[in-house]
Amino acid sequence: MERKTKITAEEGKHDLLITREFDLPVELLFRAHVEPDIFEQWMSHDYGTTKVKKLEARAHGGWLFQTSDLQGNVVFQANGVFHDFEPNKKITRTFEMNNTPFPVQLEFLDFSELTEDTSKLTIHVIYKSIELRDQMLKMPFSQGMNMAHNRLQEIVHKLK
């Protein structure tokens, strides 16, 4: 079975859907979202480390994570509040990037069991406006560029 992440972003709307099927029981899929040490692992990459500063896994609990570059400078921070929290079923949370002009967005995460060993995650993200959604869609690309630049810089530093 093909397991691929799908993005549905209809034109002229201020929301989008991210869907993905996993070769994992729903319990493990859920754990990956609420246990800080696991979350840090899959949110980190070669050019940045993600640290969970706060993750109060309950309704009205807060969360905060930071991503640092290889020199240890914090390059990205995001925070929010859990509004709804039902283990192995759903998480409703706000998401806001610190120190950016982007306003808060609302995220509905639905976890569902497909079989004993497979599960599905649906993330429904709601943005303040159509323009903001479209801007956000283009963002990972520019972020990727920045990171590529940082990496380049790092390589160049080593050459010095």
Partner: protein
Amino acid sequence: MNLRRDVFQAIADPTRRAILLLVASQSMTAGAIASNFDTARPTVSKHLQILTECELLGQEQQGREMYYHLNPQKMKEIADFIEPFRKMWDDRFNKLESIMKKYKTKK
């Protein structure tokens, strides 16, 4: 106000999307395109100008007439614009899956 003309802004307008659909099958003159809309001719011309500036439409002179055609390369860029975002999530989720598989075997 200086509007930034990018392709995404260009396709945000329903009339411009309809124009793109029209010329997708065959190249057409401005007059032939305008005859498909109730909108005033200068309005259609304005739309054509925006689409041409964004390179979604190409122009070709045939005799005395100017024909508009779709630029498939630029259209492809639009289809692809969501791809980096999708790829970012796909990479994350692939990682999540492989990490959690280890927990599965520990059980």
